[in-house]
């Protein structure tokens, strides 16, 4: 495996950095729960960064690096599904932003309040629904993403696609979780490291206490593991790797979120402190696709079913 960025990746990520800097993306100053940036979403759509996986000179891995970088921002945009799931569909057959649900089309979904397409994974088939925004109800959520649900499917175009596409969407959904999750973890950890470096109690920085150091070290290890599993999955695009990366991510979330909030003390409980902009999004991912056990099972089947 080559761990160095290649030229394409350096160029793409450099361009992305410029776009981000130009937009001056910042954490919301007021204490809000949901931090979705319509402006960022629109700029990214216009810029073409979300479509690079469709282009011959770029790969799914390159696209994953873009998703990961954007996940480190304190505000969200509908990036992961557009960049990693969208390319499964021929150009112009579906419109971004996307929302994804399992089984029931009327379940609440991330991004449904801004989505144009709802994908419903029914296992052996995929429903592709053109969303009529007037039918979307906002769902109150404490988990940082905008959530919505459909009141009914009345009047909406619903295309039924086969098992292959359903499998593909599920696989890329797992990849999206893993990649975005690893970026969220990184920013969360960076925020905490800054806090424990500057926060003093008992005449020393919090970060000089061993219990905190050791658990932060563990968190950093977890994040790195999540990252490399996600990037490998983006490189191979295999069932097993994508399921494994998603399983690892979901499995790691409770402990890492607990520890990171712990180290920020009471400050970290307020909305004014930015940690929740990443940790809440991680929490929102926890139950997707049946949680880490479901992903682990899928990874096991994909890896060993032939051998069994």
């Amino acid at each position: 495996m080559d761990f160095e960025q290649n030229e394409n990746q350096t160029a793409i990520l450099g361009g992305l950095e410029q776009l981000i800097a130009g937009l001056q993306v910042e954490a919301p100053k007021e204490g809000v729960l949901v931090a979705f940036s319509t402006r960022l979403d629109a700029e990214l759509e216009a810029s073409g960064f979300l479509d690079i996986a469709r282009e011959a000179e770029f790969t799914l891995l390159d696209s994953a690096l873009v998703v990961e970088r954007l996940a480190r921002l304190p505000v969200s945009a509908e990036v992961a599904f557009s960049a990693l799931v969208g390319p499964l569909f021929p150009t112009d057959t579906v419109q971004r932003p996307f929302a994804l649900v399992t089984a029931n089309p009327l379940s609440p979904a991330r991004f449904l309040t801004v989505a144009r397409t709802l994908l419903v994974d029914k296992g052996d088939e995929l429903l592709v629904i053109d969303v009529d925004p007037s039918q979307v109800e906002e769902v109150e959520s404490l988990f940082a993403y905008p959530y919505g649900k459909l009141a009914s499917l009345e009047g909406m175009a619903v295309r039924r696609m086969g098992a292959d596409l359903a499998t593909g969407v599920r696989r890329r959904w797992r990849l999206a979780l893993a990649v975005e999750g690893s970026g969220l973890m990184q920013s969360a950890i960076d925020t905490v490291i800054e806090h424990v470096t500057n926060r003093y109690q008992f005449n020393r920085p919090l970060g000089s206490f061993q219990a905190i150091q050791h658990r932060l070290a563990t968190a950093a290890g977890t994040q790195q593991s999540a990252r490399w599993l996600a990037l490998r999955a983006a490189w191979s695009d295999s069932e097993a790797d994508c399921a494994l990366a998603a399983s690892y991510l979901q499995d790691s979330i409770p402990t890492i979120v607990y520890d990171l909030h712990q180290f920020c003390g009471a400050m970290g409980l307020t909305l004014e402190f930015p940690l929740h902009f990443w940790t809440y999004r991680l929490k929102a991912m926890l139950g997707d696709l049946g949680g880490s056990s479901a992903q682990a099972r899928a990874a096991a089947i994909a890896t060993w079913q032939d051998a069994a």
Binding site: F209, Q210, A211, Q213, H214
Partner: protein, 322 residues
């Protein structure tokens, strides 16, 4: 009587009743003189430790499951083998079934029992710490099944598990289905595991106080201190739940069967976690054969296998939801 009572006095009573275990069964014996373990079994008989919860008329001490569960914690600390719960259960099951002779031979030490688990197809049986002549005790979800085993080989390990063939679908010698016998089995094993968890905590803490590195005892370092604190929490929870469950059963309080299974589940995790942390705190020493730490881990593992593993407790706990 009520479950809302302080059992400190009962605890003290049982502690003094079982205190001789310190000199009769020091943990170091398993390292220094493992071969002598069989001979030490006679102490169990002499001290009445196999009959704590049995009625006086049947040769027992006449105490209750509460005292038995508390005693089990001491026996767990001293790494008594799984022959102990096996023999206690076998004697009880025999008495309940009217098999007086078998009960008597188990209580006088002329026969011993060993825990066992049947394979799914009932063709083999895995036996734990078993010697030729032992009667086998399988803890089931409803009580206890006993088998006479053929062809058990002798062993020279401290703890061991081995597979023995059973005639296909062989019928047990004795089968007792009784919720309170099932609960007794769970609690005695849980008690031992809680004892293992406590002893591991104590040994880790002791080591952390005396072992110095970087100019101070390692227990002064927060990472080590917090590991010890975690062991303390875990051991305390296990000890208290085993005791509370036993008290609830004795008082016939509602949900006492649930508490017994919960105690077994918790104690299995507590022993496993604390045994691992005890090794960790002991550093390189902890990994060596000269240190006793690994013995606790192995004992916890044997007990875990003998009760069908932690997952079987999870299945029971979810099945019993009202």
């Amino acid at each position: 009587m009520t479950i809302f009572r302080d059992i400190s006095e009962t605890r003290e009573l049982v502690d003094s009743f079982t205190r001789p275990a310190q000199s009769l069964f020091p943990v170091a014996r398993l390292r220094e003189d493992a071969a002598g373990e069989n001979a030490r079994w006679a102490n169990m008989v002499e001290m009445g430790w196999l009959a704590i919860g049995l009625p006086e008329g049947s040769g027992g001490v006449g105490l209750t499951l509460l005292e038995e569960a508390l005693a089990a914690q001491t026996f767990g600390r001293h790494l008594l083998s799984s022959n102990y719960p096996a023999t206690v259960l076998a004697a009880d099951a025999s008495l309940r079934s009217g098999w007086q002779d078998l009960a008597a031979s188990l209580l006088d030490g002329s026969r011993r029992a060993a825990l066992a688990r049947r394979s799914a197809d009932e063709g083999t049986i895995v036996v734990f710490d078993a010697e030729p002549g032992d009667v086998l005790v399988v803890i089931t979800s409803s009580g206890v099944d006993m088998f006479d085993a053929a062809a058990i080989a002798a062993h020279d390990s401290v703890h061991w598990a081995s597979e023995v063939s059973l005639a296909k679908r062989a019928k047990p010698l004795l089968s007792v289905a009784s919720p309170d016998l099932a609960a007794k089995a769970q609690l005695i094993v849980a008690g031992m595991l809680a004892g293992i968890a406590s002893e591991c905590r104590d040994r880790a803490v002791e080591y952390a106080k005396v072992r110095e590195q970087f100019g101070q005892p390692i227990g002064a370092f927060q990472a080590v201190k917090h590991h010890c604190a975690n062991m303390a929490i875990t051991a305390h929870a296990a000890r208290e739940l085993v005791s509370f469950a036993a008290l609830s059963l004795v008082e016939q309080a509602p949900e006492s069967e649930h508490l017994a299974m919960a105690a077994l589940n918790l104690a299995l995790r507590a022993a496993r976690d604390n045994a691992g942390l005890n090794i960790q705190i002991h550093g390189g020493m902890g990994f060596s054969d000269e240190c006793d730490a690994h013995l606790f881990l192995k004992a916890a593992r044997i007990l875990n296998a003998a009760v069908g593993g932690i997952d079987s407790t999870r299945q029971s706990l979810m099945a019993s939801v009202q």
